[in-house]
Amino acid sequence: MATDKSNFQLVVNGILNENPIFRLVLSMCPAVGISTTVMNGFMLGIAVLFVQVFSSCTIALFQNKIHPRIRIPTYTLTIATWVTVIDLVLAAYLPEAYAKMGIFVKLIVAFAIITMRLEMFASKESVTASFWDGIGMGLGFMFGMMALGFVRELLGLGTILGYDVLGFKPLLFFVLPFAGFFCVGLMMAFFNYLESVYKRAKQRV
């Protein structure tokens, strides 16, 4: 079974149609926990992108060698390996950003999105297709996190990427930890609303 989508379509698919945060509702923990600033979202997005792309490629490369009965343990091992690598690299070269993300980099190992893409896509498709799919999923996650971070940072702290743009703090509420739930819920509802408006407009035409 080979995918009929072009590489570009695979990437767009990951960002829009199958956005891991807003459409598949997977890997919600970081989306709620540390999406307080754009920078945090970007950093964790990079880490997930790295792990997703490398795991997808590894599994796609060895797909014939993996025994079907130990499929899941092999996936877990692969993901855990790449998570360890990115964890060590981030801790070594970007210690300040790493300190902000806390335990979440290590928790990438339990993100459902990565295992799911390995099972659904990389174990059946070619290395190239898996690579682009991984890029799409990783970018989708990153953009989702950055969108959340944008809203929360702008409304909560009045800054973007640490630069003061508003000069005051409109709603401190949004940057408080539990507001992640409200923010995700509201944004999801907003996207649902956009979709329904778009569909209605399409029907009328």
């Binding site: 092999t74 690299v89 070594a92 300040e96 300190a99 806390g102």
Partner: protein, 299 residues
């Protein structure tokens, strides 16, 4: 049965490959990690002393590291301090728990490598001989300028609201707090994470030791003029003279708690109190022992 062998074989190969990748990364990144951590700490320390890239420290300024160990020999416990001597060698001073001098052992250690825990341990084990168990406790830096003590830098960690808070504290020679820097924390953003902000941590600056002992946390809101003075270093802040005047006015005041994060504020205050209190207690004993035994320390 054949299935099991292939499964075992493939799993083994997968584990070996994974181990290879992780091991290689570990070896590759370990050096860089240590180097970056050291650089970050160094920068924070110089920052607390008032120096930065634009304002380099004077040539006469040196930092002497003092490493504290807990030595147990059988059931007997004593404190051990590894410190440099005037002729660029090291000496290990053992002090009994009641503050009496035990012994001093010269330690052969390369000053360039003294910053590494593994190297220190090796050198200490060689110098002290077998039968002694050493546990590393902490390091303290004594800053001197042309042989005169200018400041002390203490590092330590204590429990915050969520997990541990790592802190670096700079003290004047008379133990007045010069400043503090939060190195690591996992407090909530918007609430406890504000401990890293100037308007909280600068409240400690200039508190004399006698006042610090009785320092408490109050829940009244931070006065606006005090906040302006605390944040004077920000762009467009108060001019230094006016800020210093307001700071003087609040010198004897307790710490104003962060809004919605009284527990974090209290944890930091108590942590700083404990760190400084323990340090002054130990330094008094060590200084007395060094003077009595005429051990030539460079500070």
């Amino acid at each position: 049965m054949k299935d099991i062998f292939t499964i075992v074989f493939r799993l083994t190969v997968a584990c070996l490959l994974a181990g290879l990748v992780m091991g290689a990364t570990f070896i590759f990144t370990d050096q860089a990690k240590k180097h970056n951590e050291h650089a970050r700490e160094q920068k924070a320390m110089l920052g607390l002393l008032g120096y930065s890239a634009n304002k380099p420290p004077p040539a006469g300024l040196t930092m002497h590291a003092l490493y504290r160990y807990i030595v147990s020999e059988g059931r007997e416990v004593s404190m051990g301090y590894l410190l440099p001597t005037k002729d660029r060698a090291f000496v290990f001073v053992a002090i009994a728990l009641d503050g009496t001098f035990r012994n001093a052992t010269p330690v052969a250690l390369d000053p360039a490598k003294a910053g590494e825990e593994g190297e220190r341990e090796k050198a200490l084990a060689a110098a002290l001989g077998p039968g002694k168990e050493l546990r590393y406790a902490e390091q303290t830096l004594v800053v001197t300028e042309d042989g005169v003590r200018r400041a002390y830098l203490l590092s330590g960690r204590f429990p915050g609201f969520k997990t541990f808070i790592s802190m670096l504290i700079a003290l004047e020679p008379d133990f007045t707090i010069r400043g503090l820097e939060v190195m690591e924390h996992e407090e909530d953003p918007g609430l406890g994470a504000e401990i890293t902000q100037d308007y909280f941590k600068k409240q400690f600056s200039g508190k004399p030791f006698a006042r610090l002992k009785e320092l408490a946390v109050v829940k009244t809101p931070l006065p606006a003029e005090y906040q302006q003075a605390l944040e004077a270093e920000k762009r467009g802040g108060l001019d230094p003279a006016a800020a210093a005047a307001i700071m003087d006015q609040y010198r004897d005041h307790d710490i104003y708690a962060l809004t919605g994060a009284t527990i974090s504020s209290r944890a930091v205050t108590n942590g700083v109190k404990a760190m400084v209190g323990k340090f002054t207690y130990r330094l008094a004993i060590l200084d007395r022992v060094l003077a009595e035994e005429q051990i030539a320390a460079p500070f």
